[in-house]
Amino acid sequence: MSPTSPVLNWIVDHRPTVSPVGDQGPRQTCLAWAATAAHEQHVRDALSVEYLHWASDPPAGARGTLPGLVSGLGNKGQPPAAQWTYDEDLDETAATYMPPSSITGPFRRSLIRIVDESPDGLIKELSEDRLPIAGIRVTQALLTAPGGMVDGSDAGTDGHAVAVVGVAETVVPLASIPTGARLICVRNSWGPTWGTKGYALVTETAWAACVVFAVVLEPATASAR
C-alpha cells in the first residue's frame, strides 16, 4: 500500500470544530469532560468542566453518574470555561471545593437523551451536529491505544466516558479490519499523549464489546446568575 493513499473515508468528522483535548489527570471527571465537549458543540463556546463536575452533586455522591450529569446540566448549568478553569490536582473532597464567587455565567443548560450506541445511531446523531457521550468499559487496548487504534473483543472493566466525534470507514482491508468497516473516532480526556493527539479510532468489534450506553444533549435556555 502506498503511504500516500488514504485508507479511510470519513463519514462524519467533528474534530476540526471541537476544543483542544483536555487532561483529567488522576481525577474521576471523565463524564464532565465528555459532556462538556458535547455541550460546547451546541453553544460554540468553551465551557467549564470544573463547574459541571462540581454541579453534578447533588444528588449526594452522584458525580460521575448520569443522574448527577442530568442534575448538573439541568439545574445549575455550565458557565464559560474561563470562569472556573480545570485543575487536575484539585481536592474535590475538601470542604472548600466550591465555585469562585466571581462566576457570573451565563449558565448553559441542557437535557439528556439516550440514543442508539451502534455505529448507525452514532452517525445519525453526529450528522445532526450532536456529539454522543458514550459510557464504555475500559479495555487494555483502550488504555494504551497503540498507534491511535483500539481493537479486540475484550469487554473491559470499570467504567469511563468519552465523546464520540466522528465515524470513518475503511476503503481497503487493514490487517483484521475488512474494507467498509466503520471506525468510531473518540475524543478522550487523557491528554494529547494518548492515542493519536488524544483521539483514537475504535473498531466496530471493540466498540460493540465495550460500549454500555450513549446519550446526547439537547440545549435548554441559558440563564445568568
Binding site: 500500500m1 503511504p3 493513499s5 488514504p6 485508507v7 479511510l8 483529567q24 489527570g25 488522576p26 481525577r27 474521576q28 471527571t29 471523565c30 463524564l31 447533588p58 444528588p59 449526594a60 452522584a62 460521575g64 453518574t65 448520569l66 443522574p67 442530568v70 442534575s71 439528556i112 439516550i114 459510557g135 468499559r137 475500559v138 488504555l143 494504551t144 491505544a145 497503540p146 498507534g147 491511535g148 487504534m149 481493537d151 469487554a155 473491559g156 472493566t157 470499570d158 467504567g159 469511563h160 466516558a161 470513518a168 487493514l174 490487517a175 478522550n188 487523557w190 491528554g191 499523549t193 494518548w194 483521539y199 479510532l201 468489534t205 460493540a208 464489546a209 454500555v212 450506553f213 446519550v215
Partner: protein, 400 residues
Amino acid sequence: MSVFRRNLAKASMEASRLHKRMDTPLDRPVDVFLLAQRLGLWLTAQPLDTYGFYLRQGDVAGIVVNSRHPESLQRYTCAHEIGHHVLGHESHADDAATLGLYSRLGQQELQAQVFAASLLMPLPLARHVLHQVRTERGSLGPAEVYLFSRNIGVSYAAAAWQLAEYNLLPRGQARQLVKQGAAAAKDELRGTTWVEDARADVWVLDERWNGIAIICRVGDEVHLRLPEDLSTGRVWTFDSPAPGDDREVVPAKQVLRWDGAADIQAQPTNPPSPGGRAVDIGLDLVRESHIRAAGQVSARPADATPPEELALFDLNELSHVDGEGDWPVIPAAGRRAMVLVPRSVGTFRVALSLRPAWNPSEPAAGKFTFRLSAKERKWLSGAGYAKPQKDLRVERLAAA
C-alpha cells in the same frame, strides 16, 4: 482449686518463668528452637510416624521432632517437649493421640500442652500481635485469627484455642473456626484460593501499608491490592525491582498506526526479548489483574441482547432523581491485584507508581513502596542434629 487445675496453672506459670529467665523478647514470635538449645537440650529432626519425642537419660536430655512436619507444627512439638523437660517429666513419645485431644491425655501430656501454648503465645505477645492484626471488622473472624497465627508462628487451630483460653474469642467460635480450617481463613483474606502452595502464608497489603517492612518466608504469597480507577487511564506499574514474570505474553505481530487524518499504516512490532522474562531477582510476579469496583457496569458478551442495566439510564427514571438508589458509577476506583512470591532469601525494596498506561514515563499520580525481607522457613527439614548443635558436637569431640 483442684490438684489437676493447679498443675495446669503451674505449667503455664513455668512457661512464663522460663521467658523471664531467658529474657525472651515478646514482640516477635518466640524462637522455640533457640530456647531448647539454651536449655542445653539436644535438638534433632527425623522422619517419624509421630510428632516427636523427649528423651532423658541421666543428665542428658534431647528433643526429636518430625522433619516432615511444617514449621508451625515442629515449633509446637518442640515447645511441648520443652514442657516435659522443664516440668521434670520422663521420656515421652508424642503422636496425634497425645497432642491432639485434651480429653484423652494424661495429666502430664495436658500439662505439656498448656506449657507449649503459654510458651509460644504468652499473653503479652498475644496482645501485641492482636493489636497488629485487628481489622476494621473489630471482632475476630477467620482472617484475623489466621493473621494472629501467622504473626505469632503457630498453627491456626492452636491460635484459635489459645485465644479462647484468654477469653478473647468465644469457645464455640473457636471450635467453628478450627472445623473450617486455615485454608478457608486464607481464602477469605486473599479473596481467592491459593496460588502455588496451599501451605504458603498470605500477606495482603493495600494503600494503608505504604512504607511498611514485612518479614516473610520464601514461597509466601504477597498480595497487593491498590486502588486503581481505569477511567483515569492510570495503572500501577513496578518501578523497582522489576519482578520476574512467568505469565505468557503473546506479542502482536504488527500494530496499526493512524496518522490522525485518513491514513493507517500496518507496522511490525519489535520482537520480544529472548526468553520473554525479566532478570531473575528472586521475586516473581505470579498473578496480576484489575478488580472492578462493586456496583460497576458489568461486562456482557458482544453478542448478548441489550442489557437490563440500560434501564438504569432510563430518562424517565433520571428525571426523578432524588439521591436514592444505586446507579452504575462511570468512574470508580477498582483495584489492581498483584501476587508476588519471593523465590530466594533476600531483601527487596519494592516500589510501584500509578502512571498513565500508555506512557509510563509521565509523572506518577501515586506511589507505593514496601520492604520485603524473605527468609528461609525456620524448620528442621533434614535428619540429624540442628545445625548449631552439629558444630558444638564437633567441638566437644575434638576437645575429648
